[in-house]
């Protein structure tokens, strides 16, 4: 006898399919028939996959039930002024600014003029029509749709309206970072926002990309931001990727970041997760050629009813590669956190150095943290280590600080700050690091 397990979220899927067919103002395709084809393909493929349930090992600690309940409508643009976005700009950072509101590009708020030689940034429809950009854009889209995929990536591919194609040309050291600012607000109904970035760093290029995810102040209700970002790091390319996230109290965020690295390249992720009702980050790197370096630095801080889940994966498929990973976070109130760090060292990946560490402070009885280091090592000449701790504040340190006159709350905040600082202090761009610290600081005040 066989049992057919019915997809628990059939209704949710049907609603998304319906939403795709009926979505208003169709410029979702950016007027591009080619892109439209990809989008149609994606929504078609949605029929073939199920939304994850907690029976899936990868989703054991995170239920998407809450996220799939609302009857979403596609997010709409809002009339914002430059003053409105001021609080989300990074003081002292000279950057190429791309502003998106509810997933829709805001040209008047952005600062995308005069891109330097060697940097291309255009919408994906444009890239598909551009002789030089097309091969990379197509390859990335085909990879997304033909490879091992999931419901959230397919939704993203179907619904992304103003996806970005970014390319650093061969040998180009792009001086100013790109800041992709995503602002969200709920409408009358729960709103659904998607954004896709396809980033190609050609050989010997260097590029910094900052993604910011924030809720606009007036917003209160539920929304779902579904993000997909793909990086291809060519030979000896260097990519610095920052993610600063403070979604709203009722905001849902699913972020899929996928990286492929060629020989001698570096990819560094600096992530700060502070907001959101339910957050799931997937960060996955595949190493295609020897000599690469991959750094994952992450910090998270969940309060109230928040749930923040970081799933990371580094696939050491080839020898002589290095990966370092440090995730640190604080979970308090009734919040919950998940860290699942998978490192796969394949049989041929000799001389791999892979280090992973996850440390969490769990500060209340009702808070919880699930941490799962997952090292699978099939090569025999490697150096790999992992460590995971879940603890509380050192009361000896609290006493010491208080004995110098710091009130209890201040002493605890100082120690919590210090705990998170270690993961943030690796940020190479000082302006971003200071802004991240400021975000953390304001989180303590909430």
């Amino acid at each position: 006898m066989s049992t057919i397990v019915q997809d628990r979220y059939t209704d949710a899927r049907a609603r998304f399919q319906m939403l795709f067919e009926t979505r208003q103002n169709r410029p979702g395709s950016q007027g591009s028939q080619v892109l439209e084809q990809y989008q149609r393909k994606a929504i078609g493929l949605l029929e073939t996959v199920n939304f994850p349930t907690r029976r899936d090992e990868e989703w054991k600690y995170t239920s998407v039930n809450r996220l799939l309940q609302p009857d979403y409508e596609v997010g709409e643009s809002l009339p914002l002024s430059k003053a409105d976005i001021g609080p989300f700009l990074i003081p002292g950072l000279d950057c190429h600014l791309f502003v998106f509101v509810n997933g829709i590009f805001q040209e008047s708020l952005s600062d995308t003029g005069s891109l330097p030689a060697g940097l291309t940034a255009m919408d994906i429809a444009g890239a598909l029509a551009d002789e030089q950009a097309r091969p990379a854009a197509e390859a990335a889209l085909n990879r997304l749709l033909d490879g091992k995929t999931d419901a959230f990536k397919l939704l993203n591919a179907a619904f992304s309206q103003h996806g970005l194609f970014i390319r650093a040309a061969r040998n180009a050291a792009v001086e100013k970072p790109l800041y992709l600012l995503h602002l969200s607000a709920s409408g009358d109904k729960a709103s659904f926002h998607n954004h896709m970035n396809l980033v190609a760093a050609e050989p010997n290029s260097e590029l910094s990309v900052i993604e910011g995810f924030f809720e606009l102040p007036a917003s209160e209700g539920a929304y779902f931001h579904n993000q997909y970002t793909y990086f291809h790091a060519g030979d000896n390319a260097h990519i610095h990727h920052y993610r600063l996230q403070r979604e709203g109290r009722e905001g849902f965020l699913v972020s899929n970041v996928e990286i492929e690295q060629e020989g001698g390249s570096t990819y560094a992720s600096y992530a700060l997760d502070l907001g959101g009702r339910l957050v799931r980050n997937n960060l996955r790197t595949r190493l295609n050629a020897p000599g690469t370096t991959t750094n994952y630095w992450g910090a998270y801080f969940a309060k109230g009813e928040q749930h923040i889940d970081n799933h990371t994966f580094i696939d050491h498929a080839v020898p002589h590669c290095v990966s370092n990973e440090l995730y640190k976070g604080i979970i308090t109130d009734r919040a919950s956190g998940v860290f699942n760090g998978k490192v796969l060292v394949r049989k041929d990946a000799q001389k791999t150095n892979a280090f992973q560490q996850n440390n969490s402070l769990v500060l209340s009885d009702k808070a919880s943290m699930d941490t799962k280091p997952e090292l699978e090592i099939f090569a025999d000449d490697v150096r790999c280590s992992h460590g995971a701790t879940i603890g509380q504040l050192d009361e000896g340190a609290v006493f010491y600080l208080r004995s110098r006159g710091l009130p209890d709350a201040e002493a605890r905040a100082m120690l919590q700050h210090a705990f998170l600082a270690e993961a943030a202090e690796n940020m190479k761009l000082e302006a971003v690091r200071l802004y991240a610290e400021q975000l953390v600081h304001s989180k303590f005040g909430e």
């Binding site: 050192d394 000896g396 340190a397 006493f399 010491y400 600080l401 208080r402 004995s403 110098r404 006159g405 710091l406 009130p407 209890d408 201040e410 002493a411 100082m414 120690l415 700050h417 210090a418 705990f419 600082a421 270690e422």
Partner: protein, 254 residues
Amino acid sequence: MLKIKNLKVAIEEKEILRGINLEVKPGEVHAIMGPNGSGKSTLANVLAGREEYEVTEGSILYQGQDLLEMEVDERAQAGIFLAFQYPVEIPGVSTANFLKSTVNAVRKAQGREELNAAQMLRLLREKIRMVGMDEKLLQRSLNEGFSGGEKKRSEMLQMALLEPKLAILDETDSGLDIDALRIVSEAVNQLRSPDRAFIIVTHYQRLLNYIVPDFVHVLYNGRIVKSGDKSLALQLEEQGYDWIKEEADSVAAV
């Protein structure tokens, strides 16, 4: 300034202090000496407000207030300073930020104006020079990886910055070489003033070569069994603690 009456303290139901009486007046320096395990550090920690210790009897009045009712930070804000025997290493908290925060927290609590960045820097520089500390330590995490001597200097720097009314040094001399000992004693001597009192807890007499106490008390088995002037410390140095123990034990036996 400080009146301790019949203080009895237990930790995990084991009685450690068995009725301490001590009065400290402004300007005085009291040395508390005694063999290991006599309760010296317990006394220092109870004064600073460590919570593992249970006060089972007696009272402590500090400037007319019930000290035992005050929180740890309130004691510090009211001018009590404990120099730790083993200062805690705190990774991620820069020494400079910590010092600035404590100075202003105490000033704020005392209703004094908080210092701005320039005033703070001037104060820090002045006191660093006073305790002979390397300014580079300010950029490091608090006490992390500091040598024994550096930790003690860091404690003395904090004391100099917070300008306490009652400073308690808990075996601050332990593990110090002669140069570091000089640093500690110079800091204390410079801070001696008619309105500031010190309680110096020490096992050895040698720190008292540099800091001349007004009173010396010998603690044994949780009680002060002998009090005197600085000559008592010298006598202990020469004769050790055995004669004190014998004397106290014979009294207890009667």
